[in-house]
């Protein structure tokens, strides 16, 4: 476990800012205590300093997970967000997409959101903007990338993809053994 280097921090923040914009500040600078990002086996974990201090008691190979896993660095040094980060992305999300109850299950099985399943979308969403996907009952289901801008969404046919699937809460069951 180690702190992130400057480059790694930058790469991660750039990815996070696609979803929550400048709200990352609220994750870094929290009034309720000291929280930090730590890298462990290529994964980035977000935790309080108390948890961190407790975790130092465990050797590297025995430590599976600490705090919340935000994502991992690929071998080409790109950052992939994991669904476990949803708890922190959802409250600060700048762009949201609501899916209709009928399309909820399809999304939770790892499929893209089609126009037919699109309930609502935040105004001014640009193409390829990171979005958090909600059910119509405002339950965060996962996140994705807008395939079409809000304007374009109105015109496209019902079977075209409007949100690319990136992660959904169904992964908690599907990828149970690899999700840490």
């Amino acid at each position: 476990m180690r702190p992130l280097t400057e480059d790694e921090t930058k790469i991660m923040f750039e990815k996070l800012s696609k979803y929550i914009g400048e709200n990352i500040k609220l994750l870094v600078d929290r009034p309720d205590g000291t929280y930090c990002f730590r890298l462990h086996q290529d994964r980035v974990y977000y935790m309080s300093d108390k948890i961190l201090k407790l975790a130092t008691n465990f050797s590297r190979d025995k430590l599976i997970s600490i705090g919340t896993c935000f994502g991992k660095f690929t071998k080409t040094q790109k950052f992939r967000l994991h669904i476990t980060a949803l708890d922190f992305l959802a409250p600060y999300a700048k762009f949201k997409v609501w899916v209709k109850p009928g399309a909820e299950q399809s999304f939770l099985y790892g499929n893209h959101v089609l126009k037919s399943g699109l309930g609502r979308i935040t105004e001014n969403t640009m193409q390829y903007q990171g979005v958090v996907v909600y059910s119509m009952a405002d339950v965060p289901l996962g996140f994705g990338v807008a395939a079409k801008s809000t304007q374009e969404c109105r015109r496209v046919d019902p079977m075209s993809i409007v949100v690319f699937h990136q992660a959904d809460v169904g992964e908690f069951i599907r990828n149970e053994d690899t999700l840490t």
Partner: protein
């Protein structure tokens, strides 16, 4: 009395004689081993440890040394002697004791690249005669060096090959080729030395090439970067340039539990930089807004057309549609259009 005195004298003379003899004859149980050539005598007799340990240790050692030295000198006296300028000189034989050498014997030089290759191929050195017959000079000349036979540097005329460029200077071409061969040989020589001493031979650097590969270009860049007075220490990197790999520098990380507040401060600084880099005028957003505006206008125009009685220009064209659709909205649509 006289007889007595004679006897005494004789006895005294005898004693003196014995004394003299004792000084040059030494009795040893075992004979010493002599190596007169290196003035060496080895005493293999046992030493009485009681004598050695006793009070007269020094005297004992001194006596032993004297006796052995005497024996060695006796041995020297047995050799042939001659007189050179009032001094008696003995000729020492060759030393028979083999002394170990001070330094380790030299290892054979490891074979050069060519020698390795020749051994592999079974190429053997052929002895060539030093002198060869020179047909033009009509005499025997050396094969190499000054005034050699068939010296092609002394030719006053060179035939231009058919394939060669006619404007090319054949003389300078020949000297250039020679210089290159010499340089190549020198390089190979240095490489052989480096290989023999197991040091990494310095890279050839960058030989000029018609087409450089990607790796060669990267190497060229890294060589150029480190070819400064400070070995590239203060050299800036380009914006998206990656750090050179295998530069021998180890990565260093911040401590796991360090200064949390400074870490946070650093991250906030980074966020500020990232934020400032984002364009204030988002083009996509602006275009979207523009599109929406147009949408709205279009919709408004549609409404306007539905009831627009005052619009003469398009009247004829859209007449049928206008007639078919909502009459009730006509007034409102027209009103909107006006402002």
């Amino acid at each position: 009395m006289a007889a007595c005195s004679v006897e005494e004298l004789l006895a005294k003379a005898e004693q003196e004689e014995a004394e003299k003899l004792r000084s040059i004859t030494v009795h040893k149980e075992l004979d010493l081993d002599f190596d007169v050539g290196s003035l060496l005598a080895c005493d293999k007799n046992r030493i009485e440890s009681r004598d050695f340990r006793g009070q007269k240790k020094e005297d004992f050692l001194r006596a032993l040394a004297r006796d052995n030295t005497q024996l060695l000198i006796n041995e020297i006296w047995k050799l042939q002697t001659e007189r050179v300028e009032e001094a008696i000189v003995a000729k020492l034989p060759e030393p028979s004791t083999r002394l170990p050498r001070e330094k380790a014997p030299l290892k054979p030089r490891p074979p050069t690249k060519w020698e390795q290759f020749a051994k592999l191929k079974g190429i053997q050195k052929k002895k060539k005669t030093n002198l060869v017959w020179d047909d033009t000079a009509k005499e025997w000349r050396r094969r190499w060096g000054y005034k050699r036979a068939k010296d092609n540097t002394k030719e006053w005329l060179i035939e231009v090959p058919e394939t060669a460029d006619s404007n090319e200077d054949q003389f300078s071409k020949r000297t250039r080729a020679k210089k290159e061969r010499v340089a190549k040989n020198e390089l190979n020589r240095l490489r052989n030395i480096a290989r023999a001493q197991k040091v990494k031979s310095p890279g050839v650097g960058l030989l000029p090439k018609a087409q450089q590969s990607r790796d060669e270009l990267a190497q060229a860049v890294s060589v150029a970067r480190t070819s400064t007075a400070s070995a590239g220490r203060f050299q800036d990197r380009l914006a998206k340039e990656k750090a050179p790999r295998n530069s021998g520098k180890r990565r260093k990380f911040e401590p796991l539990i360090g200064d949390f507040s400074s870490e946070r401060q650093k991250q906030l600084e980074l966020l500020k930089v990232l934020d400032s880099r984002r364009p204030k005028l988002d083009i996509t957003k602006a275009v979207n807004a523009q599109m929406r505006q147009e949408d709205r206008e279009e919709a408004a125009a549609k409404h306007g057309r539905k009831g627009g009685k005052g619009r003469a220009g398009r009247g004829g064209k859209m007449a049928g549609r206008r007639g078919k659709r909502g009459k009730a909205e006509g007034g409102r649509g027209g009103g909107k259009k006006r402002d």
